[in-house]
Symmetry: C2
Subunit: 350 residues, 2 copies
DNA sequence: GGTTACATTTAGATCGGTCCAAATCAATCG
DNA sequence: CGATTGATTTGGACCGATCTAAATGTAACC
C-alpha cells in the first residue's frame, strides 16, 4: 500500500486570517494575548490555530520588532564537565526567560573562536556569553562581534588591553580566595611543607589560585620554595607524570594544593605509583568539585564552584544587560566553597 | 571625563547600497559572491562593507529564501560527559557546514522536553537531533514538532508506537555487538562463569547489551544462571554495594561484563573491599570508554563508542535528510570497539 | 546605422510577522 | 437626532534580505 504523504505548505498568519475571515493584524493580536480583541473572536481564532497546527515564526517577528530571542554561548571546551554543567545551567535559565541558546565551541583555538563568533553574530543573538579560548585577544574579539554587542565574559579574560569603548561584563570565580581556603585548611591540619601543583602561569585562573596559596602561606609565616611550585598541563596524565618533581628537591612536602580536580586526580595516581597513599601519606586538594571528586578513592577535598549555578547566573547577567545596554560594566566574582573530604589528611607524624 | 558612546543604527544592505550609489540587489549579489557583478563595483562595495562594519542578517535572508541555517540539538542530560562530547561533535560538524546549533536540554523530563521542543521549533531550525528523555512518547514528540520536521533520534527511541506518517532517522550504538564482544573476549581468556552486572532491564540499551552477552554465552555452550544477572542503578556507588550479590549464589563467577564504565569502576571498588583484586583475581569489562577507564587501576577493558565522532555522524545524517526530505528513514547502528586493557585478566587457575 | 549579443544593474514584489493611524460599529449622551 | 465615546478591527507600510524579469549600457555584427 503506497504511503501518500501530504506535503503542506507551512501555515502562516495569513492562512489563519483568511480561514477565519479576519485580518492578519487581529490574528497577530491574538497570538500575543492582547486584551484588545473580542472574547469570541479570540476563541474562534485560537481554535483555528490549534486545528491547523500553526507554528509561530519568531524569526519574522524578531525581524520586524528589531528584537532577539537568542543568546550565543561560546565555550572553549564543551568536553570538559565543568563547562558542560555550565552550559546546562545557562540553557536552563535562558529557557525560562523564553530565550534560546545558540551554541558554539572553540576547542581552545582563537582562530576558530573568530569564525564561530562571526557565524553566530550573523544569526542575530541578543548577546553573547563567552569563555575565551586560550590566547585569544580582546581586540580580535571586539572586531568579531562589533562594539554594540552585549558580551559577558566567563571564567577568564581575553588577553591584550580591554577595548575602551566597550562595556563588557565579567563573571569570574573567586580563584584567589579558593586557593587561600585550601591552603589554610592544610595549614590548620598541621602541614608546613605545602606545594602548589599544576596549571600554567599564563592562565589567569592559575595565577589567581596560586596568589591565594601564597597569601595563606605568608600569613602563616611559612616559606614558599621555588621547587614546590610545579607547573604542568591541567590534565590527569600530565599531572601523574609530574608527580616525581614533588620529591626531587630538597624540601619534602607533605601536602599539595592542586590547580584543579583533574590535576589532583592525576597526582593521586602518580603518588600511588610512587608507593604513597594519598589521603594517608600525603594530603591534597583540588578545585572545581567535578562529579568524580566525591567518588574517587580517597574522596577529594576541593572547592565547589557549582558550575550549573554559575550558568544560571551568567544567563541572568546577560539578560540584565539586554534590558539595560547602557548600564556600567559589571565585574562579578562568584564565591567558592571548600568541601572537605578524605584526601586532606593530617601530616604523617602529627 | 564623560564617555560618549556613539549609538549607531545597525548597518543594512540599504545603507551600503546608498553609500555606494548602487541598488540593494547589486550589494546582495556581492555578498553572495555572484559572478554577475563587475570587478570594480565589487571591489568598491566590498571595501565599503568592511569600512562600515556590515554584518549579514541571516534571519532576514532565511525568511525570504524559506531556508534555515540552524539545527536544534535536544539532549536529555548535558551534564553527562558522554552527551557533552556528543554535543561538541555535533557542533563541530554543523559549524563546518555553516549551520548553527540551537541547544536545548531536558533533564530527563518529558514535560520539559515538550516545552523545549515547542520553543525551539518556533525558531525555525532546519531539523532536530533528539536524544529523548526517559519516559517520553513518540506521539507527543510528533505533536510538538509536527509531521514535517526532519528528526534524528539519537541513542534511544521514545516509547509508544512510532507514528506512521513520519520518517524519522535513528542513530544508535551497537549495544548488542558490544555486549557480545566483551563476553567473547572473556570466554577466549578461559572464563566460564561470567556474570552480567548492572543496569536495568527497562533501559533499551541495557537489554541490548545483555542480549549480546547471552548470545555469546550460548554460542560457547555456557549456561547463564539467573543469579549471575545482577541489576543495579548505573552508578558507581550502587555498583559497589551490589558486589556481594556476585558471590552470594551457588555459582562462583570469575568475571563480569558490566553495563557501563561507571558500574565497572564501582564494582572494582566493591571487589577490593571484599578482598579481591580486580584484574588479577577477577576480570571485568565496561562500556563507553570514558576518560577514567584508561586511568583507573587496573585500567579498564571496555567498549569505545567515541561520542564525539557520533556527534559528527549525527550532524551529517540530519544534514543529509535536509538535502533529501523524502528519502526513506535511516536506521544506523554505530560500531563499538573493544579496547583491551588490564582489567580483563585470565581466570585464576588457568 | 540599426540590430543583436552580452555583461551588468535594477525596480518592485515577496517572505511572515508587527506597528500605527485610521476605520468601523454599537452604545450612550445632551 | 447628531455627536461623543469606547471597544474592535483593519489597511498598508515596514523589518532586511532575495528573487524575477526587465532595463540599461557597450561592443560587435551585417
Amino acid at each position: 500500500m503506497p504511503q501518500h504523504t501530504l506535503i503542506r505548505r507551512k501555515i502562516t498568519l495569513n492562512d489563519i486570517a483568511a480561514s477565519c475571515g479576519v485580518s492578519r493584524a487581529t490574528v497577530s493580536l491574538v497570538l500575543r494575548g492582547s486584551p484588545l480583541v473580542n472574547k469570541h473572536t479570540r476563541a474562534r481564532i485560537e481554535e483555528d490555530l490549534r486545528q491547523q497546527g500553526y507554528v509561530y515564526n519568531r524569526a519574522a517577528a524578531n525581524l520586524r520588532r528589531r528584537t532577539s530571542s537568542s543568546i550565543a554561548l561560546v565555550l572553549n571546551d564543551l568536553g570538559n564537565p565543568f563547562f558542560a554543567e555550565f552550559a546546562a545551567g545557562v540553557d536552563e535559565a535562558l529557557g525560562q526567560a523564553e530565550f534560546v541558546t545558540l551554541l558554539g565551541s572553540t576547542g581552545e583555538s582563537s582562530a576558530r573562536q573568530q569564525t564561530v563568533l562571526g557565524s553566530l553574530v550573523e544569526h542575530g543573538p541578543g548577546g553573547i556569553i563567552l569563555s575565551p579560548a586560550e590566547g585569544s585577544d580582546a581586540e580580535e574579539v571586539l572586531s568579531a562581534i562589533g562594539p554594540q554587542m552585549p558580551l559577558l565574559l566567563f571564567n577568564r579574560e581575553p588577553g591584550g588591553p580591554r577595548p575602551a569603548s566597550s562595556h563588557w561584563d565579567l563573571l569570574a570565580l573567586d580563584n584567589q580566595n579558593g586557593g587561600r581556603l585550601a591552603t589554610e585548611h592544610l595549614i590548620a591540619l598541621g602541614h608546613r611543607g605545602i606545594a602548589f601543583f599544576g596549571g600554567h602561569a599564563d592562565s589567569s585562573s592559575c595565577r589567581q589560585r596560586r596568589a591565594g596559596y601564597v597569601e595563606a602561606m605568608q600569613a602563616a609565616g611559612l616559606d614558599i620554595p621555588a621547587d614546590l611550585q610545579i607547573e604542568c598541563m591541567p590534565t590527569r596524565t600530565e599531572a601523574a607524570h609530574r608527580c616525581e618533581a614533588l620529591f626531587a628537591g630538597a624540601h619534602r612536602p607533605t601536602a599539595a594544593v592542586c590547580y584543579n580536580d583533574a590535576v589532583a586526580l592525576g597526582l593521586m595516581l602518580g603518588l600511588r605509583q610512587h608507593g604513597r597513599q594519598p589521603g594517608r601519606d600525603f594530603a591534597l586538594t583540588g578545585f572545581d568539585d567535578i562529579a568524580e571528586a566525591a567518588l574517587s578513592l580517597p574522596s577529594l577535598t576541593t572547592l565547589c564552584t557549582d558550575p550549573r549555578a554559575r550558568g544560571r547566573q551568567a544567563a541572568g547577567m546577560i539578560l540584565h544587560r539586554l534590558a539595560d545596554p547602557l548600564a556600567p560594566a559589571t565585574h562579578t566574582v562568584a564565591p567558592v566553597q571548600l568541601v572537605v573530604r578524605a584526601s586532606s589528611c593530617p601530616p604523617p607524624f602529627n
